[in-house]
Symmetry: C2
Subunit: 370 residues, 2 copies
Amino acid sequence: MNENVEVSHFMRSLNVALGERSYPIYIGHHLLDASELLNRHIDSRHVLIVTNEIVAPLYLSMVQESLPGCSVATVVLPDGEIHKTMDTAMKVIDTLISLKMSRNTHIVALGGGVVGDLAGFVAACYQRGIPFIQIPTTLLAQVDSSVGGKTAVNHPLGKNMIGAFYQPKCVIADMTTLQTLPDREFSAGLAEVIKYGLIRDPDFFEWLELHIDDLLNQDLDKLGYAVERSCFNKAEVVASDERESGLRATLNLGHTFGHALETGMGYGEVLHGEAVAIGICLAADLSRRLGWLTDTDVARIVALLERARLPVTPPADLGVDDYLEHMSVDKKNVEGQLRFILLKKIGWATLPIAVDRNQLVETLATYGRS
Amino acid sequence: MNENVEVSHFMRSLNVALGERSYPIYIGHHLLDASELLNRHIDSRHVLIVTNEIVAPLYLSMVQESLPGCSVATVVLPDGEIHKTMDTAMKVIDTLISLKMSRNTHIVALGGGVVGDLAGFVAACYQRGIPFIQIPTTLLAQVDSSVGGKTAVNHPLGKNMIGAFYQPKCVIADMTTLQTLPDREFSAGLAEVIKYGLIRDPDFFEWLELHIDDLLNQDLDKLGYAVERSCFNKAEVVASDERESGLRATLNLGHTFGHALETGMGYGEVLHGEAVAIGICLAADLSRRLGWLTDTDVARIVALLERARLPVTPPADLGVDDYLEHMSVDKKNVEGQLRFILLKKIGWATLPIAVDRNQLVETLATYGRS
């Protein structure tokens, strides 16, 4: 709250290397208390903070007070994935335009993945692009959605179908905000953390097997390490493939099934991280059927997800045909053919590949409603 | 219609130099008859043609037939600027998604500026970006909106307020399509042609003074030259400043007043080029008041626009306060201050500058309703 307060001693910083679009990720605790970090990246007197009804009472005033020289407007969205729509985005744009906010206005996204994705999409589109800053307040947003410049809103027929690649000016991940996160959402974030171990960092997967309970117990030191290592993995992948022409697709492990589950259940019924956890189990099962993972590998994966208090089997609502229908609009598809990220082993993901339909149906029938 | 037909002998090609986003502009006649040009830039089996109800009966089948190996879907929009909205964009997206068109689908924009801006914005947003090709069929689109990657839809409170910088894979400008263009729209296109002379190409301005009647008489050779020289000027400016941080703003000569006029009159009442023509006259008047243009300069500008059969004074509907209100959301504004592109002399535009309010009001009062 005071500009003279030193930035926390516990702070790590990573760089997402994207040439002129490069930006830092700051990871630490009590980062929102100190205004220096945020102000370093705002060179405008006009700021719009986009947040939601859950986060606003907790952290909005703290962020507002750290911008004493600015004219700060605020949009408080209703909570939930169901509101990540073009209609909501247009309401934010209505606010920007009715306040006559110009092209040098900065948008600050304060909240979880829904707030970040939607505010980022608005920043990408308003006047063809204005600067924005991510302050992710959920574990999922800190390790995944706030990093890498994917912004989007959902379409009734498919998740994230409308969006832009648009990089923030910086990401400020304050571990302190995780202390107010509901347990279910914290676990949902762990699904993406575990994903990084599975796709490219086997040592991290083993570290997670040893320390998952410390994370659940909110050990700030271990948590900072897990967020940093997740962001490091994501930043490396994004830097090598910003617009997802290759390697970046591996970040979608579990997401093809997961998105189908989210679309099929209706947005908001199942949390994104929960859907990803279930999707990872289906991808692991399919990888086992292809002879890549052993039964033991699959058991380790399922066990770690369960210890993170995540669901590992889909709800009974969806059948094979439902999955096939919802997956038919997946962004990884080429010429109408479904493609999946699978695992060659723990720590090694494939690029998107087409799979034998019979084996796919076997996996779906095993897990889904028959 | 036949793949073996040679591309027209009359074809010029320009390059828009934007590194990995570079693309060619082809300018010629009977280009749509030959499929080679279009197919050279489509490496997908799936194409969505976006066009409108006026253009479709004239050229749609020609373009469809030139894509024999592709599965081609079509969206035919209603005609007019009034439909350049997010609602219309969402209808195109509904089509893409309901047909399960994947990320390698190519969008072909066949029509004028409204079709190109809207289809380009859809291409920029659908699945975070799919390839698109511009086939502009109006003079205004050929010399301006199809070149440079500005895509957008309008907001009720401001023109082009929602959009993206997103470059096409190529632009195919077929002079033949201008033969079906209504006179009023042809003249509207000439406003942007004249603009290039005014902002950076005094020799071209003089050439236009000599040849404006040839252009109005649809001399294909002179027309090809005028389109090429306009695109050359635009391509040079865009290559030096893709995202409008400086020089690119000079392309907006007359547009600040023009957009206010369009917003104030209601989209579609006045054509964009007509609004720009009037806006150029206001900018010239203001430049004269600042001591930069002589009375003779202003008279030459007004005379050339009049010879191009363009309006040079605004309709009586708008007053000073209306202009000030509508201009207050202009994208060039900084920290709430209005900024204009003005002329130091014929062939030399300023960067956006703030002007003395009294002089601005004098110009508006002279031209607008008092």
